[in-house]
């Protein structure tokens, strides 16, 4: 990490959407079909179970709906904030004048993700003395900044330098090159980072229930502590299903944004 331009090591963007993927029908409908089968199967299975007081209380329509909405709000708000912080930061850090800051910023982002998530939330709770939505969102932001920041930087750095030189030769300003050449070419890698952050946030938001911010963790945790398998499995299916839905939607957006001709 000491050689400033080489920031890519070990980041490995998970999955980069290319415009050429657009045609494959299976890649569009495969995931929705899979999710529909899983959700329907779980629903039918729960219906077939004999449900006691705990199950009837935790698995009501109102309860499941409100917990899912809380979970989505946590995920959406925190990811949005991360995007607003990490993408401009990533752009800044790839400009020549900011090179010396790269190791410092990455170290901070690494620490954010390196601390165990429960510990991070506990530290934020102790530091702010507040419970509920805001501190949990702060925790999620700290926890998921790294993938978007890294991928923005990697995405910009992998743009072929000859393209930038050519653009400059055409008389484009630095800003124009950034907006019309570098960023469009970096979008697939950046989207991969956003998808990673989304999945991290959906998973980590299950801890929100310990800090008064609700979410689907309430269902999972009750299933564990009260040893109610139906409750536990419903919670787990909802959380992982939500992660897949969100990832799928982000993938769709990524494909639509991917520059043509790549």
């Amino acid at each position: 990490m000491t050689d400033a331009p080489v920031v890519a090591s070990g980041t490995g963007p998970l999955k980069v959407e290319r415009a050429s993927d657009r045609g494959s029908v299976l890649s569009w409908v495969g995931m929705p079909i899979f999710l529909a089968v899983v959700f329907t199967g779980t629903y039918l299975w729960v219906q077939s179970q004999e449900l006691g007081g705990v199950e009837q209380r935790v698995l009501t329509r109102a309860q499941l709906t409100s917990r899912t909405i809380q979970h989505l709000e946590l995920t959406a708000v925190s990811t949005l904030i991360v995007i607003l912080i990490a993408i401009p930061l990533g752009v800044l850090l790839t400009r020549p004048f900011a090179r010396s800051l790269v190791p410092v910023v990455l170290a901070v982002a690494n620490i954010g993700q390196g601390i165990p998530s429960l510990g991070l939330l506990a530290i934020i709770f102790v530091a702010f003395g507040q419970l509920g939505f805001t501190p949990v969102v702060l925790g999620l932001v700290a926890y998921s900044t790294l993938p978007i920041l890294r991928n923005t930087m990697v995405g910009l750095q992998q743009v072929d330098p000859s393209l930038i030189k050519a653009s400059r030769g055409m008389g484009m300003s630095s800003l124009a090159i950034l907006l019309r050449v570098e960023l469009p070419l970096a979008v697939p890698v950046m989207i991969a980072g956003i998808r990673t952050a989304l999945i991290i946030n959906v998973g980590t938001a299950t801890l929100a229930t310990f800090f008064g911010a609700g979410g689907l963790g309430y269902i999972v945790y009750n299933g564990i502590t009260l040893n109610r398998t139906t409750v536990l499995i419903t919670g787990v299916v909802l959380v992982s299903g939500l992660a897949l839905v969100v990832d799928y939607l982000a993938g769709v957006v990524g494909r639509l944004l991917a520059p043509r001709g790549l």
Partner: protein, 315 residues
């Protein structure tokens, strides 16, 4: 939170010294040496009261001459239970209410505490060949509490019935912090609300981690009332006022040492002889005091257990 973490790390870092109690002249108890040759692994769950109880078991068994392996602080309820049923540990203290609601997946408690114990004991023996010894005197059950400084604002409620007034006249003050399971159990909030004929306003109930409920109630942020455990040392340390359960809704759950069949079938008589007087001596006051020394004064659970055992002549 801080305090809890400190206490936990401290507890985890300690290496137990296996006291070989040979010389019989130390003025110890009359159970000395009766478990000579036995090899027993002691476990516990992962919170302060359980660490103390685990060390009490360890000291009692060592005093009786058993070769004790210390697996205290085994994990949460499910981990400790799994360790016991799989034979990785031979004993830990379990609350009969936890067995009833969680292991046996029952919904409603049995009001009589002796009957509750007997039903759990018989069922666990029959289904899982696990042996429940006599329950300790103290119970560790649910209660609602508020910070003493808040008394004036809240109109100094004394019992759970008094909450009806607050909920009816001043619903904004009726804020409650609970663990998530408390809000889902029949013997928790839903049953309590039904028994007392009121309901906390929607949106006024916040679910939190167990440890945070205490500090949130003490700080009155975000709740005026909190769900606590009656024997927890933090109740008095944080100056919390416990509301009397005037309708007697919350069941009394007592803990017992639970042993595997492998150990109990061989040493049952001796184990009863060792543990029955200990269970008898573990009163509500005694346990609350021990908990307070660990949770609040940050003493080591093994030191606290050892002091209590020798003060009471068990070692």
């Amino acid at each position: 939170m801080n305090r809890r973490f400190l206490a936990m790390t401290g507890a985890a870092a300690v290496i137990t010294s296996l006291a070989a109690c040979g010389g019989g002249d130390g003025g110890g108890s009359d159970t000395e040496g009766i478990l000579e040759g036995a090899s027993i692994t002691v476990g516990s769950k992962d919170f302060d009261e359980q660490l103390i109880l685990g060390h009490i078991s360890r000291l009692a068994l060592e005093n009786a001459g058993a070769d004790v392996t210390d697996e205290i602080n085994t994990g949460g309820t499910d981990v400790a239970r799994a360790a016991l049923t799989s034979g990785n540990i031979d004993t830990y203290w379990e609350y009969n209410g936890t067995a009833w609601i969680s292991f046996f997946q029952e919904e409603d408690p049995i009001p009589d505490r002796i009957e509750q114990y007997e039903v759990v004991r018989d069922r666990d023996l029959e289904e899982n060949q696990l042996h429940w010894l006599e329950p300790a005197q103290f119970n560790n059950t649910y209660a609602l509490a508020y910070q003493a400084d808040a008394a004036e604002d809240l109109g100094s409620p004394e019992s759970l019935s008094d909450l009806a007034d607050i909920i009816a006249n001043d619903p904004d003050l009726a804020t409650l912090c609970v663990e998530s399971e408390f809000s889902a159990r029949n013997d928790g909030l839903p049953g309590m609300e039904e028994a007392y004929g009121y309901e906390f306003p929607a949106g006024n109930v916040t679910e939190l981690d167990t440890a945070i409920v205490y500090s949130a109630t003490a700080d009155r942020n975000p709740c005026n009332f909190g769900e606590v455990f009656t024997s927890d040392g933090r109740v008095s340390a944080l100056d919390l006022v416990v509301l009397e359960d005037d309708l007697g809704f919350f069941p009394l759950y007592n803990p017992s040492p639970v042993f595997t069949d492998e150990v109990y079938s061989e040493y049952g008589e001796q184990l009863d002889e060792i543990f029955n007087p200990i269970a008898e001596a573990l009163t509500q006051e005694a346990m609350t005091e021990l908990n307070e020394r660990v949770s609040v004064d940050l003493e080591q659970p093994q030191d606290v257990a050892e002091d209590w055992m020798s003060e009471n002549g068990f070692i």
